[in-house]
Each structure stands twice: as C-alpha cells, then as structure tokens.
C-alpha cells in the first residue's frame, strides 16, 4: 500500500520511490526497484534503489505497484478563457492529476481563440499560477479558427505554442492547408488536424449507419473523415510538413494512415479512448453523453482502432476531454453539444484493453507517454535519468465504479457514468511533487 514516510532530515528537493515495479514503455524496462528524484528530475532508478540506500530523501513506498511515466494527453479542451463554467485550467489539471495525466495539451478553441502571441502567454501564465500539471497550449493555425488567414506560426511557436490546429473544424480550403503545412515545416511545427469534410458532415449528429436510420438521426459517413485524411496525406506529400490526424475513428482512416506511413510520409495519428472502448450502439435511447465528434462508429471500426493501437499504426491515445455543462447536453440528441470529459477515466478505460487482451500494456502506455512526447518534442514521457519526474503509480487490478459526482472535472458529461473499470492511478507526481494521492485525495 502507498504510504508517505517522515524522514528525519526532510529535504524538499530529494524524494525516493521505493518498492516499485518500474515500467518504462519507451525502453521496455519492467523490473522491481526504486527511483531517486532530485530537484524535480529523475536522478537514478533501478533495482539497487531501496529504502536503505536513499539517505536523507523523503521516501514513498510504492507497495510493489507499477511506476510509469505520467500520461501526456494530446487533446484536451478547457473553457479558459471564455467558458470557465465548464472547466478552467485549474480544474482540468486537477482532473488530469487524478487520472495519472501529468501533461495536457490544450486546444485553442476558447473565447477568444488562442491565435495570438499574447494569448499563448496568457495560457502559460495561468497554467503556471493555477495548474497542478504541465500545460502546453496549442495555437490556432488560422486566425479565429475561421480558415481564412494563417496565424503567426513562427512567433506563436517562439511564444510556446506546442502545435497548431484548427480546433474542431477541418480546414476545407486545400490551398490554405497546403500553405499552412509548407510554412509550419520551416519552423518544425506540428499540424494537428480534425478530420471531417464539412459538406459531407453538415447536419450530421452521429455515425451514418443502420443505427442512425433507426433512430431517425442524420448521419455523418465515415467517408467524411477518410476523404479529408486522404487529401491531407496528398498535401503532406506535396509539402513535407509534419502532420498528425488528431483523432481517427474508422477503419478506412486507419488504412490511409498505414499507406501513408508505408510511403515514409511524416504522418501520425491519434484515437480517443472513447473510440477504442465505445461504439454507436452505446447511444441507445439518445444518450447525449455519447454524442461525440468524430461520432462513435460501428463495432467493426472500434475493433479496427484497437488493432491500430496494438500494431503501432495509431501513435497516440487521447482523452479528447471536452467538458460540457448540463445546459448544452440535456437536450434532444440532435440539438445537444458534442463532447465527453475523459481526463480522469483515460487510464482506467485504457487498461480495459490490457485486461481483455486487446493491446499489451507497454504498447498501450507508450501511446499515452513516449509517443506523444516524441511528436511534441517533450523530454517527459519516459523513465530516464535527467527526465522530468512526471510519474504515475498505477494499480492495475482494483475494480471500481465511475461515479460522476466524484469526478474532479467541473463538467460531468462522462460516457463512463457507472461504468465498471479495473485499475487506476494511485499517485501522480509532477516534477517530483505528489499532486494526487488516491488514498488521501484531499491531502495533495
């Protein structure tokens, strides 16, 4: 069991984690041992680090649980600035820490849109002052996300924008997309795109299928995603720009990604935890917490997504955390907002794929640690000497029921309401400092 020990000479700059199962998906490390953290960085780790060897450091007994790099969530919407009643950077970060997420990448579709150097600076300052976990803002790649004028990608990148995106809108104008990819390439900037041909997806509210026909809901065909992705791949081929499909949701997209990678193009993709664990049938009697963008697809598509993660063709798993208040969710399905929260359930829901044999544990965690770190150029996401001590202690086994009222997110729109999940974050550390402790959630 986890416990925090008092040491005789308390040194705030030095912490030892002992009696852990060290698990690093990047290197394949999986062995019993301990870790010494000095000044927020991993000083050393291995089987030789035990309670007797840590001197005057504060030590934490990990009870044999799995100690892994903290998760990096590449797709998080918050409401700050503009919609603080849904989520602030502070509440999102508290939700993140409870889910073992130590770094969140924020979407720019706030009010105002993050499309200016001063606003990137605002997010970084607010995060520094209020957030428990690392926060990196993405910036809009077109001004106001309107798809008409390119943003100052070079200056925004210098200001700290970690990637560029058009939010929940696809950039329909192919020439603009070409310019953005070509221009961003000069600055080494990653373009993260939402995939949805606007004319095909117009008025659609769920996956186009027999289910949408039965429910009498307008459908969004999987082709709306595949067409946009195929176009983007051609533009990547033309420009050489680094491109990441934020979320894919269907088999057709996976095939396009595989083909692009086989051609050696700088194309990567993500999938949301929702599209790995849920399908369109979960909508059942018009449950709006299952209304997502991209929409939940067929079971066959879901299985393809799991296969894609297992094979490594899908690089990243995201929560697609999208807090929405009851006012915009408690509506007829077609009129309700889309989106689901996910920061706190990302890890537990992902572990279901480990438990049911869909994806091995290292591959699963790699898609939430080392892979996003590599795409974003972060030095976290792995257990390595000198790396930031952003860590999560994971209990793989204990089952629990998701109770929305216990979630820390300011909005409660979780599709995992009352879900039985197995395994969770016991403790989360950011730069060596515990920011979440399951045994004592109020204490940290």
């Amino acid at each position: 069991m986890v416990m925090q020990s008092e040491s005789n000479h308390h040194d705030p700059h030095s912490t030892a984690l002992v009696n852990a199962r060290l698990f690093d998906p990047a290197s394949g490390l999986d062995q019993k041992g301990g870790m010494l953290i000095v000044n927020g960085k991993i000083a050393t780790f291995g089987p030789e680090i035990g309670q007797g060897s840590v001197g005057e450091a504060t030590f934490i007994d990990c009870g044999g649980k799995l100690l892994a790099p903290g998760l990096i969530d590449m797709l998080v919407f918050t409401g700050e600035p503009g919609h603080e009643h849904r989520e602030t950077l502070a509440t999102a970060s508290r939700a993140a820490s409870a889910g073992g997420v130590t770094t969140i990448i924020c979407m720019p579709n706030t009010d105002p849109v993050i499309d200016d150097v001063a606003l990137v600076d605002f997010i970084l300052r607010r995060a520094r002052d209020t957030a428990q976990v690392n926060v990196h803002p993405m910036a809009a790649m077109t001004k106001g996300l309107l798809g008409e004028e390119m943003t100052e990608i070079g200056l925004l990148r210098e200001a700290g924008a970690i990637a560029f995106t058009n939010g929940k809108h696809s950039l329909a104008n192919a020439k603009m997309m070409r310019n953005v990819l070509a221009y961003a390439k000069d600055f080494g900037a990653l373009i993260i795109h939402h995939l949805e041909d606007p004319s095909l997806a117009k008025d659609g509210v769920m996956n186009e299928s027999e289910v949408s026909t039965r429910l009498g809901l307008r459908g969004i065909p999987a082709a709306a995603e595949a067409i946009m992705l195929e176009r983007d791949v051609r533009l990547v081929e033309l420009t050489g720009g680094r491109y990441h499909a934020g979320q894919i949701s269907c088999r057709a997209s996976l095939e396009i990604i595989r083909a692009a990678k086989a051609r050696g193009l700088p194309v990567t993709c993500g999938v949301s935890i929702n599209h790995l664990t849920l399908n369109q049938n979960d909508i059942g009697p018009y449950r709006t917490f299952f209304k997502l963008r991209p929409p939940l697809r067929s079971e066959e598509d879901r299985q393809a997504m799991v296969d894609g993660v297992a094979s490594g063709d899908i690089d990243v798993i995201v929560s697609a955390h999208d807090p929405k208040d009851a006012d915009v969710k408690r509506r007829p399905f077609a009129e309700a907002s889309d989106g689901a929260i996910g920061l706190e359930t990302l890890l537990s829901a992902a572990l279901s794929l480990h438990h049911n044999g869909g994806v091995d544990l290292a591959t699963l965690l790699k898609a939430m640690t080392a892979n996003p770190a590599r795409l974003l150029g972060l030095d976290s996401g792995r257990l390595a000497k000198g790396a930031p001590a952003d860590l999560v202690l994971i209990d793989l086994e204990t089952p629990f029921v998701v109770e929305p009222e216990h979630l820390r997110s300011r909005s409660k729109n979780t599709p995992f309401d009352q879900a039985r999940l197995q395994g969770r974050a016991l403790m989360t550390l950011v730069a060596g400092r515990p920011v979440y402790n399951y045994a004592d959630p109020r204490g940290s």
Binding site: M150, E152, I153, M176, N179, A182, Y183, K185, T239
Partner: protein, 318 residues
C-alpha cells in the same frame, strides 16, 4: 560620336532583349562594359549622345512603374531618341483590345524600340513576335526583368571588381519575383554562388534545380554572404496566407543588423525598390553605408543606355 565606338569587339546579335536566358557570359560582360562607359557619361554635364538620333522609343507599360519607366525614358533621351510613354489607363487596352491588337496597332506607327512591361509572364515575348521593331522586356509577370539583373550585376562589379566566386543571397518572395529569376540566371552565368532565402511558401517548386542553394533561415543563408539582395514583399502575400503577417515576416525574414551580422562585414546591401521599410528591410539598414540601393538606380539608367546601344545595331527602318 558614339560612346560605343571603342567597344567594337563587342558583338550583340540579338534583335530583342526578352530575358537574361539565352545571353552568353560574353554578351553580358559586353553589356556591363558598355554600361560602365554610359555611367561615366551620365555623370558629365553633357550627357547627350546621338546613337538613337531620329529613332522612336515607346514605353508601353501595362503595369504601373515609376522608376523603370523613367529610367528607360532618360536612357532613350540621353541617346537622342524620341521617347513616348504609353499609359495603359488612357489606352485602348482599357476598352478591351487584345495584347496582339495593341501590338499590331503600335507597330503600324513605325516605332524603332518598344519597352514593354506586362503583368503576364510571356506576354512580352508574344508581343515581340508580332512587331517589326526591337522589344525590351521591362518585366513580364513573375518571369524576367533582364535590365534589373544587369544593373544589379554592374553595381556588384563596381564594388567587388568581379562577379565570379561571390556568394549572393537573394532573400524574400522568390516565388513571385522576376528580379530573382533574372538575377539567378545572370549570376550563375557569370560564376557567382547564388543562394535563395525564403519561407517554403515563397520559394516555388523545384527552385533548387535553378542552380541555387536553398535556405529557409536568414542566419544560415546569410552566413558568409558577399551580397545581400532583398526583395519586395507585396501586401497580397499576407491576404493570400503565404505569410501570416508583416511583423512575423520581418521577425524571421526582414534584414536587420542582427541577421546582417551573419554576412561578411563588407557585404553589400541591395534592393530593387521600391522598399517596404520595416517589412523586408530595417530602415537603418536600408540607409547603412554598405547599402548601394541608390547606386542601383543610377546604374539602371546606364545599363538601359547600354542595352539600347547594343540593340541599335539591328534596328529596323534602315
């Protein structure tokens, strides 16, 4: 007497000057030598020569231009020609006449030389096929601007004594620049090492196949450069999202003292004009002692006199 009298060795067998492409190194050097003499003539009190006495030169500008048009006008007048400026606004082009009809109409007036600027690449060559007189390309779209490249070369040669072996960095909107194309052709012909520096959106496909070293960073591209040649950035490049804003462009691609420090200490600063101070070039850098921007204008007249003299040997109506 003719100032070309001494340069009898120089042969220039062309009827038109449509571009740098097709000119030999020998012909280019010959034109520069002629221009050198014209430059000294232009500094005398008596600038008037008689090479083109009795001849008619028409400036036909489909695009607005102040400096190139007046430069050709002065060059023609100093050589004794009658010069007429055709303003497009008052011409029949506004009434829907095609380029070829305009050319045929002008041709019927028996001019000896047409100086043409047009917004469409290849338009000047098309016009040249339809007239009996000599045609000089004063800029066709994003294609060529041969007299600009010649005046740039003359300015460089006067300061550095040579062209061969110099590192010349051409910076900015390469994609849309006729100045860049003509300069790349000329400088390569004379043995310079040409670099282009621009964001990917302003480079153009396959630019490296034109015999240039491609850079997307000013600091790298300017490293050790003998010549820094800036290009004008049109405002339209922002509205069409090839670059996001003036301030970002200046930050990364504008010539300031910081970036200029990467070039050789005695690097020349050049600009074909008109300049956007604060967009592609810092105002103080534009006025720096190393800036030869005003001398480029002076050499413009000299080079255009040289071109007119060279073409005078093959004029019609004789």
């Amino acid at each position: 007497m003719s100032i070309a009298a001494e340069a009898t060795e120089f042969s220039f067998p062309h009827r038109h000057l449509l571009g740098i492409e097709g000119l030999s190194g020998h012909e280019i050097v010959g034109l520069l030598d002629l221009a050198e003499e014209a430059a000294s003539v232009s500094r005398q009190v008596a600038k008037k020569r008689d090479d083109l006495r009795g001849r008619t030169l028409i400036n036909l500008f489909f695009e607005d231009s102040t400096r190139t048009q007046s430069s050709f006008e002065l060059a023609g007048k100093r050589l004794g020609a009658d010069v007429m400026n055709m303003s497009v606004r008052t011409s029949s082009v506004q009434k829907g006449e095609t380029l070829i009809d305009t050319a045929v109409t002008l041709n019927a007036m028996r001019p000896d030389i047409l100086v043409v600027r047009h917004h469409a690449a290849g338009a000047v060559e098309l016009l040249a096929q339809k007239v009996d007189c000599s045609v000089i390309n004063a800029g066709d779209g994003s294609h060529e601007h041969p007299t600009q490249a010649l005046l740039d070369a003359l300015t460089i040669r006067r300061h550095k004594g040579r062209i061969a072996g110099l590192i010349v960095a051409i910076c900015g909107d390469i994609l849309h620049s006729r100045v860049a194309r003509s300069n790349i052709l000329l400088l390569n012909t004379l043995g310079a090492r040409v670099r282009v520096i621009a964001p990917s959106t302003l480079l153009g496909a396959g630019i490296e196949r034109l015999g240039v070293e491609v850079h997307r960073s000013m600091r790298q591209g300017l490293d050790g450069a003998d010549i820094v040649m800036m290009l004008r950035l049109q405002r339209e490049r922002m509205t069409s999202s090839l670059v996001p804003s003036q301030r970002e462009y200046f930050h990364f691609f504008g010539l300031d003292y910081d970036k200029l420090a990467c070039a050789k200490p005695d690097a020349l600063i050049m600009h074909p004009g008109p300049m956007n101070r604060g967009v592609e070039i810092d105002s103080n850098v534009a006025d720096d002692a190393r800036s030869v921007i005003r001398e480029q204008v002076e050499m413009g007249v000299a080079v255009r006199m040289a071109v007119l003299q060279a073409l005078a040997r093959h004029l019609p109506n004789q």
